[in-house]
Amino acid sequence: MADALLIGIIGDYDGRFSHVATDEAIAHSAAELGLPVEIEWLPTANLLGGERQLRLDRCDGLWASPGSPYQSMGGALAGIRFARERNRPFIGT
């Protein structure tokens, strides 16, 4: 859906409760706002290389997921740094 918001979740999805809850909470809020929202999980190891700019820049908001340790702390920090330096909506929980 071209008009949908894209929320990128920085984290390594493994189906644990807090990951499922993150997807669901986004859907709850999107429904309340009446906004179409798509979610894309961004594995932390993919945020280390040169293509990370592209992956992160597509997103309208970035969420640093719960559930440590991340597969790549460096990748997670790179994603969070992108949000901070580029003034992108960011939440970390």
Binding site: S29, G61, T93
Partner: protein, 144 residues
């Protein structure tokens, strides 16, 4: 801080920025993380958290074993990251960047307190900020 480290990744770090929870809570499940269940947070005025929640005190669900090292709270605040939510002993529970369009991080999990009937207001505010950003970006991309 060049040597800032997370104790879960490097227990021998010289500057452990993130350290094990210093003070376990009474209702803590012995087999679960040190900080679990619903706990009180004092929300500081003049913050994004207060703007959204309009309350001085909230109860939120935690599920974690590490926190910001209290020894670095002053350094963090001096660096511009505002600590806007505090635990009962003054521990950092929410941090924000005030000059950012929306930058909020918490030790608790607002997503665990969201239902389809009552979405969490912090998550809703984040999604709204993303929608505003998308609109701003689209307007910048198309010169008028």
């Amino acid at each position: 801080m060049v040597g800032a480290e997370h104790a879960e990744y490097d227990p021998e770090a010289i500057d452990p920025l993130i350290t094990p929870i210093a003070c376990a809570v009474p209702q803590s499940n012995p087999s679960g993380p040190v900080l679990s269940g619903g706990l009180r947070i004092a929300v500081q005025r003049h913050s994004l958290a207060y703007d959204i929640l309009q309350r001085d005190e909230i109860y939120e669900g935690f599920h974690c074993s590490y926190e910001l090292n209290p020894a670095f709270q002053e350094t963090i605040a001096a660096g511009g990251l505002h600590i806007t939510g505090l635990g009962d002993r003054g521990e950092a529970r929410i941090v924000e960047l005030p000059d950012h369009r929306f930058y909020f991080a918490s030790l608790f999990l607002p997503q665990h307190n969201s239902t389809i009937q009552t979405p969490h207001p912090i998550v809703t505010a984040f999604i709204q900020a993303a929608a505003t950003f998308k609109k701003d970006r689209a307007e910048r991309a198309v010169p008028r």
